[in-house]
Symmetry: C2
Subunit: 337 residues, 2 copies
Amino acid sequence: MVRIAVDAMGGDYAPLAIVRGAEAASAEKVGEVVLVGDENVIAPLLKVRSGIEIVHAPVAVEMKESPSAALRKKKDSSVNKAFGLLKSGSVQAVVSAGNSGAVMAFAIFTLGRIPGVERPAILTIHPNVLGTRSILLDAGGTVDCRPSHLVQFAVMGNVFAKYALGVETPKVGILSNGEEETKGNELTRETHVLLKDADLNYMGYIEGTDLYNGMADVVITDGFVGNVALKVSEGMAEAIIGVLKEKVAGSIRARMGYLLLSGVFKALSRMVDYSEYGGAPLVGVDGVCIICHGKSNERAIKNAIVQAKGFVGKNISGRIKDAMQKYVSLAKGGKEH
Amino acid sequence: MVRIAVDAMGGDYAPLAIVRGAEAASAEKVGEVVLVGDENVIAPLLKVRSGIEIVHAPVAVEMKESPSAALRKKKDSSVNKAFGLLKSGSVQAVVSAGNSGAVMAFAIFTLGRIPGVERPAILTIHPNVLGTRSILLDAGGTVDCRPSHLVQFAVMGNVFAKYALGVETPKVGILSNGEEETKGNELTRETHVLLKDADLNYMGYIEGTDLYNGMADVVITDGFVGNVALKVSEGMAEAIIGVLKEKVAGSIRARMGYLLLSGVFKALSRMVDYSEYGGAPLVGVDGVCIICHGKSNERAIKNAIVQAKGFVGKNISGRIKDAMQKYVSLAKGGKEH
C-alpha cells in the first residue's frame, strides 16, 4: 500500500482542514496516511479509530515566511520532516498546503533535483472547454527562467500529460503575446528555437485566450507569467461570480432564474475550483510532492492525497527521470556535431 | 469641433464595421469624422447624407503583416496617412482597429514620442467589482521592458487615471506573483525600488487576483505579461460563458433559468466586452491615438471615437507631456546629488 506523508502544519486552515482531509482519504483506503506535525495539537483532533500515524514535528513554517530564512532556520519543520520520510523511503509521496516557496526550497534541499533538471516547476492542471484537461508549468516555482529551464519544463510536462492524463501525443505550446513567430519576448524567442529541435510535438506559440480552449495539452511559461496567468483567471472567475450574485440578490425574477440554473452554476464552480483538483505537483525534484493551495479545505487535501497515490502508481517521477536522461544524452549528442 | 481620423482599412471587419461606426458617431455629433482609406471602396458604403469626409489612401496594412515590414514598405498606408493628418494639425486624434504593432510603429515614426518616454504603452481600461474602473499598462506595446520603461508607464498611467477617469490620487501597483516584497522577478524588483522614490501613490506589488477587485487604479506591467493577463481573462470569460450555454442548451429547466437571468447575463457580458470600452489609448506618443481590438464591430468603433473626443477635450496628451517633463527634471535633479 502507498504511504503518503501529509504536512499537518501547512496551509491557511491547518491543522484542522488537513487532519480532516487525511481522515477522509484514509477512510476511503486511498493509502496509509502519515500526518507530520505537532502531536499535541493533532492527536486531539483525530477521530479515535482513524488509525492515522503521527510523526511529531512541532515546528511550522509560517505562510508569509521567507523561504530562504525558513531553509536556514527550520530544518526540523513539519514539511522538511515529511521530505525526510520520503528520502528515507518510509513514504512514497508528500502533500503540503504550506508556504509554497518554502515547500519547494526544502524539496530541493532534501530530495534533490532529478539529473538534468536545473529548476523544478509547479505544474497545474486545468479543465478546458473541450472537456479534457490542459497542464501549465511553471505556475510559480521559478520566476526568472532561462530558455533551457523552459525546455526542461516542456520535457517534464510532456511526460506528465502522457502518463498522468493519458494524452497519447501531447501538444506542447509556449504561452506568448501572439501566435506569430514574430511575437514573444526574448525568453520565448530563444525557447522557441530550442523547442523546434526537441523531440516533442511542439506547436509553437499560443495566446492567453487559448489557456482554456484545449488548444494545447502542455502550456510552457516561466513561473512569473504562469502565476500571473493563473491568478488573473481566478480573479476573473471571482469577479464574474461576484457580479452574478449581486445582480441575483437584487431581483426576484433573477433569483428564480438562479435557482433553476443551480446545477449549471455548480458545474461552473467545479470548473474553476482548485479544491476539485487537489494540488499542483512539483516536478523536477526527486520524488512525488504535491503543493496544495494555501486555502485548501478538507476536500482539496483529500483530493491531493488521491492525486499523490495516482502519481506514485503511474511512476510519474521515474518516467520523468527516464525522459530527462534521454534529453540530456540527446543534448550532448547534438553538441558533439 | 474635434476632428478625428478613423483608419477605414484596419480591423477584421474593415471597412464595413468601421464605416458604420464612423457614421454612428457622426450622427450623434461626436465630432467631425474623417475616414482614411480606399475611396472607391468606402464611398459606396456611406449613406449619402452622412457628410463624412474621405481621405483617399488605398494601401492597407494586413492584420498579420510584420510591423517592421509595413513600416518599410507602406508609408502611404491608410493608418500612416491618418497619423500624417494628426501631425499636420488637420485632425486631433486617430482611431484604428488595424494591426496594433504596425499602428504603434507608424505612430512612433510619424508622431514621435513625448520627451522623456523611451517606449509607448497600450493602456486598457477595465471594470472591477467595486463598479469603478482600473487601468493596465502595458497591454502589449513593448514586450521586453527595462525598469525605467515601467516607471514611465506608471507616470503616464497616473495622469490618465487622474484626468481621464477622475481618480483624485490613483493607487499605482506593479503586477507580480505575490504581494510580498520578496516576490517578483528581476524586472519588478528593480522597478519596485525606483517607484518607491517616485512622486506617486505607489502601493507595491499586487497579484493577478487583484486585477478585477479594484485594489489598484493603475496596474503596471510589461507588454508581454500585460497581454497574457488580458487574453487569459478573455479566455476564462469565454470558457465560463461557453460552458454556461452548453449546459443551458441541455435542459429545459436550465433554459427557463437562463431566460429569467437574461438581464444579469447581459450585464456580465458588458463587463467583459471590449466593444463597450471602445479601444485602448496608445500613451507615450505625441498625440491622441486609440488602438481598437481587431475584432471591433460598429459599436466598438463608435465608442472609440467617443473616447478619442474625451481624451482630446481633457487634454490627456498635454497633461502626460507636463508630467513627463516634471519626471525628467526630477530624475536629473536626483542624479546631480
